[in-house]
């Protein structure tokens, strides 16, 4: 009970700081009998980087995967409560999930390029939404590869197979492919955890650049990474939100002792 009252205060502070784009209210997820997320009330501010941190198995991925309903096909999934995106209910029966996912893009932990060329990968999501002329295609490929700082590395071999790229480049290509669809929000589920440190930093820099135009929700279990890139921090442990708020406040002056403990020692006994 103590937690939820502190939560409400932080909630209202976040509201004042900026407009929110995704809100959840009393959101619960069960998979078969396991209660994965419990009474989640969260606010994702627009055009900021929100980092969701917490120990593994705490429900971070399930939470972001609920925002674009990519979890829908999981057997035994049951949800309760609401997730609102731009004031429309994501779990409304009439919602077009394909359209929702083109507004809320997603980058996964392991880069997964399609067995096609580099430029075809960039255009993959877009080409089934609208007809593109050859000039459009070239422009879109260049624009989005530049946005992820991959253009210089690959501009001379756009027609090469995408799986000839290094794993870090593949992950940046996955981000470019997501940008091409022009989403408002990009969900990132530990996008650097399967990369080497150098490629990981390159992806981090890309993400910082994207902040101006996109809302980013970034799941990580790397606290230092969250400190480097986040504006807003959500601490999720054992399916519950322990605390959320501006990153400086949580790192310097967290209200909950468990948040302080976790951000300092990466340990949580919840």
């Amino acid at each position: 009970m103590k937690n939820s009252s502190s939560l409400k205060i932080i909630h209202s502070k976040a509201d004042k700081q900026s407009d929110s784009i995704i809100n959840t209210e009393g959101f619960n997820v069960w998979i078969n009998d396991a209660h994965i997320l419990e009474d989640i009330n969260i606010t994702i501010p627009e055009n900021k980087i929100t980092c969701i941190v917490g120990p593994s198995g705490g429900g971070k991925s399930t939470l972001v995967r609920s925002f674009n309903r990519i979890n829908d096909d999981i057997e035994g999934l049951k949800i309760q409560g609401s997730v609102r995106f731009n004031d429309s209910d994501v779990y409304d029966q009439d919602i077009d999930t394909a359209l929702l996912r083109s507004k809320i893009g997603m980058v996964f932990q392991k880069p997964c390029v399609f067995p096609k060329s580099i430029s075809e990968n960039v255009l993959f999501g877009l080409q089934y939404q609208k007809k593109l002329s050859d000039i459009d295609r070239l422009e879109i490929v260049e624009e989005n590869l530049k946005a992820v700082s991959l253009w210089k590395e690959v501009s001379h071999r756009l027609n090469n197979p995408a799986n000839s790229l290094s794993i870090g480049q593949q992950q940046r290509l996955c981000i470019a492919r997501t940008l091409a669809v022009k989403p408002q929000v990009i969900l990132m589920d530990e996008p650097t955890s399967s990369l080497d440190p150098v490629s990981g930093r390159a992806v981090e820099e890309t993400i910082l650049k994207l902040k101006e135009n996109y809302t980013l929700v970034f799941v990580t279990h790397n606290i230092r990474q969250a400190e480097r890139i986040a504006d807003h921090l959500v601490f999720l442990c054992d399916g519950k939100i322990i605390e959320q708020g501006p990153v400086n406040k949580l790192f310097q002056n967290a209200e909950n002792s468990r948040t302080r403990e976790y951000l300092k020692n990466e340990f949580c006994d919840c």
Partner: protein, 282 residues
């Protein structure tokens, strides 16, 4: 027995098993090749049979066999792809998945002569279709269905979930994900299954002998309600005249050609499969 002698005994047993298998195969191929090759001539494979098959060639049988299995493949392939997609992408419930396995393996386990009787009763007796090669194709298509379905299913189902999620996350709907991501990656698996099915179907005798074929006096069909003659049923007819050396010679020749066609389909399946595997490794 000491540990060491158990070890060598087991090794010898394995060697004997594999020799028995390959020995039988080599013997069988050897006999058919040795007896079949003398019967083969350009004339044999380009002329029609006469005198109940003991004279002339097997041109119409070759054409009949290929016609009946190719049409069967055309009928079976889309259904198999549809079933495989449904089983892999739309069946989420574990119970239903199990039931679908039981049904597919059940279909695969039905003895071929039962298909023949089923075809005879349904198409010839009840529907009054008469003896028709097209009915034979329908029955062979049903027989090929489980093989092609399972091979296609395995190749769709082995595509990692992340490909589906990546595609859905880019705003493609399920249909687009299936046609643009999953099918292109599993198509060669489906083609492999198709050729395995073809190799099996072209050698089938029992399912088509009552409903699709005539044993002598057959011309090339001019419509779908006519019988054809096929290599396996022709061999059966010739074997019944085994006291006639000319008929027996032709039976060996026809067997040789049939084995060649089966090998052609099987090796095509193998080559496509190998290509697919090396492509996946890239």
């Amino acid at each position: 027995m000491t540990r060491k002698s158990k070890n060598s005994f087991f090794k010898i047993f394995c060697w004997l098993s594999v020799s028995a298998c390959f020995g039988t195969l080599i013997f069988l191929f050897g006999v058919i090749f040795l007896n079949g090759i003398p019967a083969i001539s350009l004339d044999f494979i380009t002329s029609r049979s006469s005198n109940f098959g003991s004279e002339g060639g097997i041109l119409y049988q070759i054409v009949g066999s290929i016609l009946i299995v190719l049409v069967a493949a055309l009928l079976s392939f889309p259904l198999a792809i549809g079933t495989a997609i449904f089983k892999s992408e739309y069946l989420n419930n574990r119970k239903w998945k199990k039931l679908s396995n039981v049904l597919i393996f059940g279909l695969n386990g039905i003895p071929s002569v039962v298909f023949g009787i089923f075809g005879l009763i349904l198409f010839v007796n009840i529907l009054g279709f008469g003896i028709s090669w097209f009915v034979g194709s329908i029955i062979l298509a049903v027989m090929m269905l489980p093989t092609i379905t399972l091979t296609t299913f395995q190749s769709i189902n082995s595509i990692p979930v992340i490909y589906r999620e990546s595609s859905l996350a880019l705003g493609l709907n399920k249909w687009q994900t299936i046609t643009k991501v999953l099918l292109p990656q599993s198509f060669s698996g489906a083609i492999t299954g198709l050729f395995i099915g073809l190799a099996r179907a072209i050698g089938e005798t029992a399912p088509i002998m009552f409903i699709a074929t005539a044993f002598s006096g057959v011309d090339l069909p001019s419509g779908i309600r006519e019988p054809v003659s096929t290599l396996p049923t022709h061999i059966l007819a010739l074997a019944q005249q085994a006291t006639n050396p000319a008929a027996l010679q032709n039976a060996w020749g026809a067997s040789f050609v049939l084995i060649l066609l089966v090998m052609l389909f099987s090796t095509t399946a193998l080559v496509i499969r190998k290509r697919q595997l090396s492509h996946q490794r890239l």
